[in-house]
């Protein structure tokens, strides 16, 4: 992995305990600039605690944290945009005042033109003089998101950003996140919604009970956990297939288990040879959710 530019964030062997309970246990990872990094795990796994330590809100018991190549200082907070999971805004403040004040706390005197441009982007410009309490929940969430990126941070940490958003706004947010990556920003996406991670993230860290259980490129992880099977939708029954040790109906699909030596291509060639019409043929890759369940060793809820 290429590490020429300083990593946006580098966490080394960080541990935090409350009483005798280790909430974060020897976790290490780095986040490169220009990538979307998924921090995933079930509720209570230690994601938020890890993030709070990166934000210098909580001090780790041991371990090092570097942000943009520097040790945590009071100034580093100015280069990070953080959307906490537990979030809210001043109800009595107007949209404009909220954005101005929170940007000022990041040490940034933001021009009104930038605020208006961001508001226009999310379609909230007409509401700029409304009080937060007059906005709908979804609108409030969007403003909350804008406060995270208003000061043009280099590293953006989003803790459960899609919670409480409708599909339209979810798409809008994803678009902006992908845009941020294009601009070379690093984004850390912490969530337990695996489908979002699969869609957006380049690399992931999965933690469970405070411990790191999976870490690396999403594609590599999926390859590693790929089942040895293919899903087919055929017109009629296939005959005897060499290298297939069993089959099981899976909805309108038929799952064919391979013996481990045979490749999916060999199976496909055999089916074509038999002259059975094929509606679909796909190599089964497990969803991140399934991998997660496998790794965490938990039953589906």
């Amino acid at each position: 992995m290429d590490k020429k530019a300083p990593a946006a964030a580098e966490v080394g062997n960080v541990t935090k305990a409350y009483g005798s309970k280790r909430v974060v246990d020897d976790v290490s990872f780095y986040v490169a600039q220009g990538e979307i990094f998924g921090l995933i795990g079930p509720n209570g796994a230690g994601k938020t605690t890890t993030i709070r330590m990166m934000m210098d809100i909580i001090k780790p018991d041991s371990g090092d944290i570097h942000i943009l190549g520097e040790k945590l200082r009071e100034d580093t907070k100015n280069h990070i945009g953080y959307l906490p999971e537990e979030r809210g805004l001043y109800k009595k403040l107007t949209v404009l005042d909220t954005l101005t004040y929170l940007a000022a706390l990041k040490g940034d005197r933001v021009a009104n033109s930038r605020i208006e441009e961001l508001l226009r982007r999310v379609g909230m410009l007409p509401h700029k003089n409304k009080k937060i309490e007059e906005l709908s929940r979804g609108m409030g969430q969007l403003i909350q998101f804008l406060t995270t990126i208003i000061h043009d941070p280099q590293l953006i940490i989003l803790d459960e950003p899609f919670a409480g958003l409708d599909p339209v706004n979810t798409e809008l947010l994803k678009e902006i996140v992908l845009d941020l990556r294009k601009q070379g920003k690093a984004v850390i996406l912490s969530t337990h919604q695996m489908n979002q991670v699969e869609e957006l993230c380049d690399r992931i860290l999965m933690i469970d009970h405070g411990r790191s259980v999976l870490y690396g490129k999403l594609a590599d992880i999926k390859k590693k956990y790929r089942d040895n099977s293919v899903l087919v939708d055929l017109e009629g029954e296939p005959g005897e297939l060499e290298g297939v040790v069993g089959s099981e109906p899976e909805g309108r699909y038929l799952e064919l288990m391979l013996d481990g030596k045979t490749t999916p291509q060999q199976v496909l060639r055999q089916i074509v040879k038999q002259g059975v019409a094929i509606n679909s043929f796909q190599v089964s890759t497990p969803s991140l959710h399934q991998i997660f369940l496998q790794v965490a060793g938990k039953k589906d809820e």
Partner: protein, 405 residues
């Protein structure tokens, strides 16, 4: 710009916009003005209140008691017997009567009958009957001047001298006490409005979940300092508004009401100490409120925490009588030096007697030490509990966390 300063400005602006703050600041001058105007109006309409003559009857079994001199307010009429006196009383000819029994000279017993239910005999009636009896008893034996002196033996006027034997500018008395009393009351009000806002603000930020966003931008120390100072400036502004309006009102009142109010003066040393104790008192309670605010799960719960300290602060008012009668009592000295009761006690004592410098110095020093100590403690509490939602930690937990951190 410095982040503490940004928070300070933000808090100040938000507080000055609060409806309750504006109401509170304006309420005191407005109420005082209403009272003065009301007083003037009543005076204008009624002029001198009409003097009502009290008709008192008497039944003389002892003999020799006559009406020697009628006064303007009380009219005595002789009644032949108790039955007739009662009839006259029921018909409203007299409002009351008294009986002088035969053995009055040896027993001194006087029996008074009235239709009113009263706590005790009205002072003017008691005086009138006393004077009636005295003038009858001394009749013929002394000159009228002596009789009058016996009735009114002294017209007392006391003058306080300063250490040079000159007449002191501060003569004490009611007006000397009322100014500090009002001022200490206002001081406490202002301290608790401001620190109350601090508590409420922190509670709201915790409830609204703004806290974590703030802490991702500034350090807990910057946050607490900015908030405490911002609200402190608001409180100071409130005091200044009150003081300025008090000057105007005193001028307005003395031109019309005169008497007590005309002597309402706020001496300079009183003002300086007042401001010092406002600042120290505010810092002390604001820091405590900040601690309470970070501990409570909601604004309401935090408020309950803080009640203990509010009670402590106003407790010197319960000792007001002791402080008034004996400003140098040991208990009063202790109250002066104990940081939580010092602001109010000092204000109350100021008007009554000079407070020895060593006591003031000790009191201020103790307050500063307490403030610094609490600041360290609360900053720790702040970091640990600010992001704890949903439950209030128990005392044991707080102690454990503090030991760990």
């Amino acid at each position: 710009m410095n982040k503490t300063l940004i928070i300070l400005k933000h808090e100040l602006r938000q507080t000055l916009r609060r409806r309750s703050f504006i109401l509170m600041t304006l309420a005191f001058p407005l109420l005082a003005m209403l009272a003065i105007v009301g007083f003037q109006t009543i005076q204008g309409i009624g002029g001198e209140a009409p003097v009502e003559v009290i008709e008192i009857g008497y039944v003389d079994y002892s003999g020799g008691f006559d009406v020697i001199a009628q006064s303007e307010v009380v009219e005595f009429t002789s009644q032949p017997s108790e039955e007739e006196a009662t009839d006259a009383l029921l018909e409203g000819e007299i409002s009351q009567y008294f009986v002088i029994p035969q053995d009055y000279l040896s027993s001194g017993v006087i029996i008074r009958y009235t239709l009113e239910r009263e706590l005790e005999t009205p002072d003017e009636v008691w005086q009138a009957i006393k004077n009636f009896l005295i003038s009858n008893l001394l009749e013929g034996q002394n000159s009228p001047e002596v009789v009058e002196r016996v009735q009114y033996p002294l017209a007392l006027s006391s003058i306080t001298l300063d250490e040079n034997g000159d007449i002191a500018p501060e003569q004490g008395g009611f007006s000397a006490f009322i100014v500090p009393y009002i001022f200490s009351f206002l001081l406490i009000m202002s301290i608790f409005t401001s620190s109350g806002f601090l508590l409420q603000g922190l509670g709201e930020e915790k409830e609204n979940r703004v806290m974590e966003i703030l802490l991702s931008s500034v350090s807990p120390r910057q946050l607490i300092t900015g908030k405490v100072l911002g609200l402190g400036v608001a409180g100071l502004l409130q005091i200044v508004v009150w003081l300025i309006s008090a000057r105007f009102l005193a001028g307005m009142a003395s031109s019309t009401i005169g008497g007590i109010l005309s002597s309402l003066q706020i001496p300079a040393d009183f003002l300086v100490l007042g401001i010092i104790y406002f600042i120290l008192g505010y810092l002390l309670f604001a820091i405590i409120m900040a601690g309470a605010g970070s501990l409570g799960a909601s604004a309401r719960e935090s408020q309950q925490f803080s009640v203990i300290f509010t009670l402590m602060a106003v407790s010197p008012l319960w000792f007001a009588v002791l402080i008034t009668n004996n400003p140098n009592h040991v208990i009063v000295q202790l109250l002066t030096m104990f940081p939580f009761t010092a602001p109010v006690t000092v204000m109350l004592r100021m008007g009554l007697a000079d407070i020895p410098v060593w006591q003031l110095a000790t009191s201020i020093a103790l307050m500063v030490i307490t403030i610094v100590g609490l600041l360290f403690l609360v900053a720790k509490i702040f970091r640990t509990f600010l992001l704890m939602y949903g439950k209030t930690p128990k005392l044991g937990e707080i102690a454990r966390y503090l030991r760990q951190s």
